[in-house]
Symmetry: C2
Subunit: 230 residues, 2 copies
Amino acid sequence: MLTLFHHPFSPASRFVRLILTEYGAKSELVIERPWERRREFLLLNPAGSVPVLQENDGPPVCGVFAIMEYLDETRGYAVGNRRLMPDHPDARAETRRLVDWAVNKLDQEVVGPFVRERVYKQEMPNSSGGGAPDSTALRAARANIRHHMRYFGYLAASRNWLAGSRLGFADFAVAAELSCADYLGEVPWEDEQNVKTWYARIKSRPSFRPLLSEKVRGMPPAASYEDLDF
Amino acid sequence: MLTLFHHPFSPASRFVRLILTEYGAKSELVIERPWERRREFLLLNPAGSVPVLQENDGPPVCGVFAIMEYLDETRGYAVGNRRLMPDHPDARAETRRLVDWAVNKLDQEVVGPFVRERVYKQEMPNSSGGGAPDSTALRAARANIRHHMRYFGYLAASRNWLAGSRLGFADFAVAAELSCADYLGEVPWEDEQNVKTWYARIKSRPSFRPLLSEKVRGMPPAASYEDLDF
């Protein structure tokens, strides 16, 4: 039995939910609000961040890098050609580079600020940093996303999937990040048709459905968020 | 033939230099100043960051996560029991959690600000963000390092090495980060004797020697930096 401690709007948690489903690994989902610094959760992950995966009463697997590799090491063989990590070391390096790009660079420069300013700050009490969004941070994120979209557009135009010829972890990591920005209507899809086409292919996978049906209270998603032909 | 694009004061680059030596993988070192955004380097790594490893004319391996796994996948078998990644998926997850802690959390909250404010800003032209250190950022880093030291002290007291019973990637990732702060005299070693003892063991390894002999122009290291019995 797998338990995933996550937050619905944490892009890294979304990535893990997607790949758990792709690997056919059923898990119980527990919502964690990292800013509450719940004691039992800090014992699992002293970093205090989501996602954290736990198998039965085993040791916690903390963070996307550890979880992605753990999932592939423990279930990769069983999923056969639906495996999301390629075999060759060069291709594995390219997959990891793009996952790192998504969960660190894209997250820090774009999606993290969007989610923090527009979602978390509404949920958090003022004592934990809640309050009105910082318009300077939002402006920077809106400028930065264009550079990232251009790069993903280049990748999508020159490859079948982002990291190479086959669907892989990198596609889900980037899509998970973009899905959070998309909920908020912050993705300039029309600038990059190749990214839009690639995202439409990912978004139509059954693993994406649970994410698309979730709503933030008092904040309906952008018009095209659930639409598979956006 | 391996080529490593690095910066002497990039903690992540230091981590890679250490593990390359530990794996007996000789490499040519090329110093890269990421803020120069050199065109040929951006073609290798569009993220513009170090470290980047290249094997012969093969595709670049970008970032610590990709490089660490690549090194273990391509050379791990050959080093036998000196391998720095354990075999069991649970232990691998713990190794990756702590590497992630070092190169992301410790770097963002502590070592990154120290290096940026006290080293990079001296090297950078003003047009790239150079100038005087930001004392608020330094104060925050000095407060944050105490929390990290306490946590590493807990790990060092309860385990033989940071991630478990054997020396591994996590030890080198944390030591590489701390070595940059130590050069600047910013590590409160006396607060945590267990961390000090652990670091003395790592620091005395031959792989650490090249790092200890490097100097930043116009900025001598703290008195105990090179001292193995500090």
